[in-house]
């Protein structure tokens, strides 16, 4: 087995051994989906929205919750912790570069997030009769772009935080505002124009907008795609510049 496969396998096992991470990473978004889906008024059509219900527009927001939990919380904490503990430094003395370990963690996190996306689409469809995205390809593209943009922001956190605890703190500071602008508390449809404009320029605001567009069969707006690509490139470049192995 190659070092990369082995690393990905072991990182995945380690993730499942950390019950806090499993509960937060895999539990939070589906549980929120079920709770919101059980609110009767959320299953009634909103006047003036072509029969869309609150739960329908919330599914993309909860996908954003899943993306953010891995992207700015779980993965940065893992990476910063590995650096602080010298796990990455130890790997530098072997023929395998520590970048391989970060790559394995990214693959693991991405696989988990994709799994979560599928689980939530299935729950939403079966339990709450939420239609599957009408433009599947646009939905997947939007998901990939939102995941990449959020992951890049998470890499900056991982690069800057001196320890797992501080990565956790920085993650927290980013997590809630990102989810606010993604529409977790006030759906984007109800946001004040100023808030909506800010939301358009955040990774998950643009992400949720694109997912919502794809859900009803449209392609994402150019602005939202540009915002997500921009975050990926800028944050990715910044992370690459400031990241230290030790």
């Amino acid at each position: 087995m190659t070092a990369f496969t082995k690393l990905t396998m072991i990182e995945t096992r380690l993730f499942f051994r950390d019950l806090m991470a499993v509960g937060l990473g895999l539990g939070l978004a589906p549980i929120l989906l079920v709770v919101l889906g059980l609110v009767p008024t959320f299953r009634e059509p909103i006047p003036g929205l072509d029969g869309l219900r609150t739960i329908d527009i919330y599914v993309p927001v909860l996908v954003a919750v899943a993306v953010a939990t891995f992207g700015v919380f779980i993965l940065p904490q893992l990476m910063a912790g590995y650096r602080a503990k010298g796990v990455l430094r130890r790997m530098r003395t072997t023929p395998v570069q520590p970048g391989t370990l970060l790559g394995a963690q990214l693959v693991m996190g991405t696989a988990m997030t994709v799994g979560l996306l599928l689980i939530m689409l299935v729950i939403a469809r079966l339990a709450f009769a939420v239609a599957l995205p009408q433009n599947i390809l646009a939905y997947l593209v939007s998901f990939v772009l939102a995941t990449a943009a959020t992951g890049a922001v998470g890499l900056v956190v991982a690069a800057l935080a001196p320890s797992a605890a501080s990565a956790n703190g920085i993650g927290m500071v980013l997590y809630f505002p990102m989810l606010f602008f993604a529409g977790l508390w006030i759906p984007r449809a109800n946001m004040h124009p100023i808030l909506l404009t800010i939301s358009d320029f955040t990774p998950l605001g643009a992400g949720v907008a694109s997912l919502q567009d794809a859900a009803v069969g449209d392609w994402p707006q150019l602005l939202h795609v540009a915002v997500m690509v921009g975050w990926t490139v800028l944050a990715g470049a910044l992370a690459a510049r400031v990241f230290r192995w030790e």
Partner: protein, 307 residues
Amino acid sequence: MESIIEVNDLVKRYGATTTVDGVSFSVDEGEIFGILGPNGAGKTTTVECIEGLRKPDGGSIRVAGLDPQSEARELKELLGAQLQETELPDLIRVREAMELYSSFYRDPVDWRELLDDLGLAGKLETPFRRLSGGQKQRLSIALAVVGNPRIAVLDELTTGLDPQARRDTWDLIERIRGRGVTIVLVTHFMEEAERLCDRLAVIDSGRVVAVDTPAGLVAKVDHRQRVRFRPSAPLDHALLTGLPEVSHVERAGGQLVVTGTGDLLQAVTALLAQQGVIAGDLRVEQATLDDAFVALTGRRLESEEAR
């Protein structure tokens, strides 16, 4: 014997501070080579340059003919390292750590046999964080040699271990050498250096002050001996220092420590008999590596407790 590591005039600076200032030595294949010095002497920086983790500012290094900077990938196949203050993920199990690190190398050894050798065979399913300090160190030795290296660099391996665990670790190091691995051992413990090393480089303030066998280093100060005893009655120091054999007299608790050369014991006991003083707990001490270190650097190694 062939040199497997050649360090010539190595210089490493951090800002205005020169941590390593022209260090040269060579390590023969198959030996346990010690790098001894006080904390902050530049020992770790020196070996990190050998490991390719740091880029030297001057001088040259060859490890089995390879340049640690430009031929890093190849170097890491044949040099295993144990670093100070590095850990594994808390929840990784011993078996997983061994499987993982084995997968990093082209030609790893059988890690099960290795763990047997290191007394960790019963800990395969134990998570890293539940291992004792000594077990963690043994695992880190195992990880350093699982790639079947020709050289293992062990940095402050026994710091923080209790005396029993330290002695066990020394046995393991000799066993690893028995497998044909050349060992570079960074330490600030005299006893460790004296017990394990075939040869030693004494480093102080970024410079090599001596390279020799432990016995060779001691021989440099061998002429000095010490007589230590508890006098039954007060004794005028001037009488002792008046003896031609005596160079120095010191009081340590209730004891007198007389340092000198030649037939020191005979001279001191003759004086005591003449003064009617009985010497209780009389002991003669030869110079140790500790004394050699003091003679070479003008100071004592810091004790572990002082860290």
